[in-house]
């Protein structure tokens, strides 16, 4: 077995809002330490809360391991770090409470600190309530923006992944009427570069194919329904193609997904949140994962919210959480792999003499 296959990442999982379905899907995904061959899981949250859910879910045979800090994590069990004083914490599944928001932030903060310090190899975040999370320390529309700041990145990329179907969005959690102002050649160029880089280093795709959607209906229909395609998107795509990158578009968003054109690409870049998320959730319901590209560390999350309406009813499906943990492990491995390849490369760039003499390069083929 190679070093790569045996590599077992330490995956931190932040518990999210404890009155939502976060704790339930985490416990269902990790039940009986079933992922202990893939990774060493460390839950950031509260042992008291998780034990209450464990009883509610009838998982009495399986015990969680309480640890004080991540260095104590046991690779054979499911580790829990309690991130706030939980003596008085009472569960109210389905209720929106300020206490749950504060607790969710405490868990996220502790997990982010460990991720930044390299003490965990990847972070999986369970859903939070964006309203109750807001405080002096957390003034962000979501996890992605918080982590971007924590890692000193101007902008991270929200990348939705379901198997080989990957959707990135140019703009995320902003009002729709601000999307046009953010659609600039600079930002589009930066996002495309970010996606291409992520496809190469996080997913191991050597020659990525990227499709870009138009902003307007029918991709503007030659200027009839909007001019952003002609003025901004097409020129940027052309520049990438001139550099030899397979960046194609702009495609009309409705026909693009209907005709399954997305299957011919490694990723799709949508211009706004719902243009990417509507088709993604329609195609990949319950198996989608949100991956944050552009950070120096690995972070994924399930693509569902707190789902207060079904919290505490033992009816939440852990599919998306499981996929999020698997993807976190995969990307952590790919990154190690890419780093190894770069480190061990004998020749990193083609020699001038070779590229000028194509006949020479063909010789090994003829002989074989």
């Amino acid at each position: 077995m190679s070093e790569l296959q045996s590599y077992k990442p330490i995956v931190g999982i932040s518990m999210g809002d404890y009155n939502g379905i976060g704790p339930e899907v985490i416990l269902k995904a990790l039940e009986s330490n079933q992922l202990s061959r893939q990774c060493t899981p460390v839950i950031y949250g509260s042992l008291r809360v998780l034990n209450k859910y464990r009883q509610m879910l009838n998982m009495k045979e399986w015990n969680l391991q309480a640890i004080q800090k991540v260095e104590q994590a046991n690779p054979k069990s499911t580790n829990v770090i309690t991130c706030w004083n939980d003596q008085q914490t009472e569960l109210e599944p389905g209720k929106i409470t300020p206490a749950a928001g504060k607790a969710a932030f405490a868990a996220l903060k502790r997990a982010t600190d460990d991720l930044k310090a390299g003490r965990i190899n990847a972070l999986v975040t369970a859903p939070i309530n964006k309203d109750t999370m807001q405080s002096e320390d957390f003034k962000f529309p979501g996890h992605t923006e918080y982590l971007a700041q924590a890692f000193g990145v101007k902008e991270a990329l929200m990348f939705m992944v379901a198997g080989d179907f990957r959707v990135g969005v140019l703009t995320g959690h902003i009002p729709l009427d601000q999307v046009r102002a953010q659609l600039t050649p600079e930002k589009l160029t930066a996002k495309i570069s970010q996606i291409l880089h992520s496809l190469r280093s996080d997913f191991g795709i050597v020659k990525p194919r990227l499709a870009v959607l138009g902003l307007n209906p029918h991709a503007g229909e030659n200027g009839l329904l909007g001019t952003e395609e002609q003025d901004i998107i097409s020129p940027v795509l052309l520049k990438f193609r001139e550099k030899g990158e397979l960046v194609i578009g702009p495609f009309p968003a409705d026909g693009f997904f209907a005709a399954s054109t997305y299957r011919h690409y490694d990723a799709v870049l949508a211009m706004y949140h719902d243009q990417g998320l509507i088709p993604f959730k329609t195609i990949a319901f319950n198996s989608g994962v949100n991956f944050t590209a552009g950070l120096s560390a690995v972070r994924t999350s399930p693509d569902h919210g707190t789902a207060y309406d079904i919290a505490g009813k033992n009816s939440a499906e852990p599919g998306s959480m499981l996929e999020a943990i698997y993807l976190a492990c995969d990307v952590a491995r790919y990154r190690l792999d890419t780093a190894e390849i770069v480190k061990n490369a004998l020749v990193s760039t083609p020699q001038a003499s070779e590229s000028q003499a194509p006949g020479k390069a063909q010789r090994p083929n003829r002989n074989s």
């Binding site: 729709l176 009427d177 046009r180 209906p217 029918h218 409705d254 209907a258």
Partner: protein, 353 residues
């Protein structure tokens, strides 16, 4: 009056595309004649040529007036139009001639329906550029119908079996779509949808209204159109006794519609409704390189006449090849017949069978 079959005018669409083909294929089915009396509005030459290409044994009955139709399976009743010169006709080509023809067919069915000579209209696909070349600067069928029937408040419903969406705006830039997200318009689209669903036979339609912004604005955190325009429209609709609710996050409402929790979703802009509906209605079989199950339809609500359309375009790579799938045309005819039958204004309905 036994089983009255409504009389439907079918404009065949751009002759160079797949419209005439899917029309002939649909009318080759005996069951179509059990639910309606179809009248094709097209150059007879085009239809004749199509029966030859498809080698179907259907007679052509050229008529000058809807009353002259036979409306029995085995005969295609064609209301004669003369726009195509056979010598200069070619499939899969954008031309002013075909643009003028396709506009004339649409105009004819609208006139017939407005004069109560037919009960409903079904439209085949037209090509916008051809239309513009011919001097008709319309964005599409919906706009032609709005203009020729002097209707201001209409909306487009896409329907794929029980999956239905209506649009607050359609063929406008995203910028303009945001500007058109206004309480009055949203309310009018909700009530148009409610009325249409009742006409389809749904007693108490359940209508979900989507938000405009991501996560429906998350209580004003990113975008306030939900608070300022959409919620007041929903409240007003509920006061009118309509079972409307929302605004729902746009990315999670469609699985609920698909699961049967609602009868229709009110969408704020073109792609919001078109992306999920087309995803479910059209499937491309990459293995066979073929489209399958093209069965979605497009219904214009709010018009004084009934109009249902196929959900696909002219397919200018398939014209004249005999490979086009007629499912959407069949569904459009069935929906139109159902509408016409339930419509209290039905007038030309058959009095004897």
């Amino acid at each position: 009056m036994k089983n009255p079959r409504p009389l439907l005018g079918i404009s065949a669409g751009d002759p160079a595309g797949i419209g005439p083909e899917v029309t002939v294929k649909a009318l080759a089915l005996p069951e179509i004649y059990e639910i309606c009396r179809p009248l094709i509005v097209c150059d007879a030459f085009i239809i004749e040529q199509m029966t030859a290409i498809l080698s179907v044994d259907l007679k052509i009955n050229r008529v000058k007036h809807p009353q002259e139709g036979i409306y029995r399976h085995g005969t295609l009743d064609v209301l004669e139009m003369n726009f195509i010169q056979p010598a200069s006709f070619a499939f899969n080509v954008v031309s002013a001639m075909c643009g003028a023809a396709s506009f004339a067919y649409v105009k004819k069915v609208i006139e017939l329906a407005s004069a109560n000579l037919i009960d409903g209209t079904v439209t085949g696909p037209i090509h916008k550029e051809a239309l513009h070349l011919a001097g008709y600067p319309y964005a599409g069928h919906t706009e032609i119908y709005g203009s020729l029937t002097n209707t201001r408040d209409y909306t487009m419903m896409l329907a794929e079996k029980d999956f239905r969406v209506v649009h607050v705006s359609t063929h406008v830039s995203l910028r303009e779509a945001i500007e058109r997200t206004k309480k009055e318009r949203i309310l009018s689209v909700i009530s148009l949808a409610d009325h249409a669903l009742k006409t389809m036979g749904i007693d108490k339609p359940r209508i979900a209204v989507a938000g405009l912004n991501p996560h429906a604005g998350e209580n004003g955190l990113f975008g306030d159109e939900e608070i300022l325009e959409i919620i007041p429209a929903i409240d007003a609709a509920r006061q009118m006794g309509i079972l409307a609710d929302g605004p729902h996050p746009p990315d999670t409402i469609f699985p609920k519609l698909k699961g049967g929790l609602y009868d229709c979703v009110v969408c704020m802009y073109h792609d919001q409704g078109h992306i999920p509906t087309k995803l479910l209605g059209f499937t491309y079989n990459a293995l066979l390189d073929k489209w399958e199950n093209l069965s979605g339809v497009n219904i214009t609500l709010g018009l004084p006449i009934i109009r249902v359309s196929v959900d696909h375009g002219v397919a200018f790579d398939k014209g004249g090849k005999g490979e086009a799938q007629p499912e959407s045309m069949i569904e459009a005819i069935q929906q139109c017949a159902r509408f016409a039958l339930n419509n209290s204004n039905a007038h030309a309905a058959e009095t004897k069978d």
